[in-house]
């Protein structure tokens, strides 16, 4: 089993606000992320696919194919967008790193048909990130 990782960067704005919370509660829970006009980040996404290299091409999957999937599914959907208002998959959710990473996993998993999606890591900044794994992957050892 070989793991192959591709990294992309996108820039987007967001804000944290729960309409079921009072204004004070929103400020207390979300701090400055609750600024009503939003703010933005340069996100870095690392996508790891697991598989056996094809004996003829030596590839788990063609990186060009992965690049196109990421362009279509991630860049066109999220780059230079407002995550609260312009990404339907995040509608009704707080666009935290944890939630965005799960949305990205669910978008990418069915599209990766050569090899298997193994790990998604989304950085909101160099010091904050979320990881998604298939549940049970850890229990299954090194896969």
């Amino acid at each position: 089993m070989v793991l192959i990782t591709r990294k992309i960067e996108f820039s987007a704005s967001h804000l944290y606000h729960n309409p079921n919370f009072s204004a004070e509660e929103n400020r207390r829970v979300f701090g400055k992320c609750n600024n009503p006009h939003g703010h933005g980040h340069n996100y870095t996404l690392e996508v790891t696919v697991a598989g056996e290299p094809d004996p003829v091409t030596g590839m788990v999957l063609d990186l060009k194919e992965l690049k196109e999937i990421l362009e279509r599914e991630v860049m066109q959907r999220m780059d230079h967008r407002h995550l609260n208002y312009e990404v339907p998959e995040l509608a009704g959710q707080i666009p935290t790193c944890e939630n965005i990473a799960q949305v990205l996993w669910r978008l990418l998993d069915p599209k990766i048909t050569r090899g298997r999606l193994h790990h998604v890591r989304l950085y909101e900044s160099p010091d904050l990130f979320a990881d998604c794994y298939r549940n049970g992957a850890a229990a299954a050892g090194k896969l």
Partner: protein, 146 residues
């Protein structure tokens, strides 16, 4: 949160500290042989990077595994206040009789963070320099990255 996915939150912190790798259980020559220049009696320092990984349910009301303000306060109180700009050998009781290698620093920091009440501590990673990093997941068999 879908049970098909395991989600973790990762957060990085920085601290700068000095240490000396030396043990009273070895002779001077043996210390020099085993630890090399890290055994210099006056010690030396590093800019450490601590990476903390937590797992748990993502709260639908907040979108969070844990509120970063709670995590930052806990790590500051339990680790950074004691470790930053300190001598690990002199200022941290755990290293009075235990060599402050980054392996042992990992074990000590994991012990201090394990009781974080808002989420499960999966693992920590400590980078001593840009070239060396160490991970520890306690006795959690799932804590090591798959």
């Amino acid at each position: 949160m879908s049970s098909a996915l395991k989600v973790e939150l990762g957060r990085r912190y920085r601290f700068s500290a000095s240490h000396r790798l030396h043990t009273a259980h070895l002779s001077k020559e043996e210390n020099n042989r085993v630890f090399g220049k890290c055994s210099n009696p006056y010690g030396h320092g590093h800019n450490y990077v601590l990476e903390v990984s937590l797992s748990g349910d993502v709260d639908p009301a907040t979108g969070m595994i844990a509120n970063l303000a709670d995590l930052d306060a806990f790590v500051t109180d339990h680790v950074l206040e004691d470790f930053d700009h300190k001598s690990l050998n002199e200022d941290i009781p755990a290293f009075r009789d235990c060599v402050p290698t980054t392996e042992n620093v990992c074990i000590e920091i994991f012990r201090r963070l394990k009781s974080f009440p808002k989420a499960r501590l999966e693992r920590i990673r400590v980078a001593e320099t840009g070239k060396n990093s160490f991970e520890y997941a306690g006795d959690n068999p799932e804590g090591n990255r798959p």
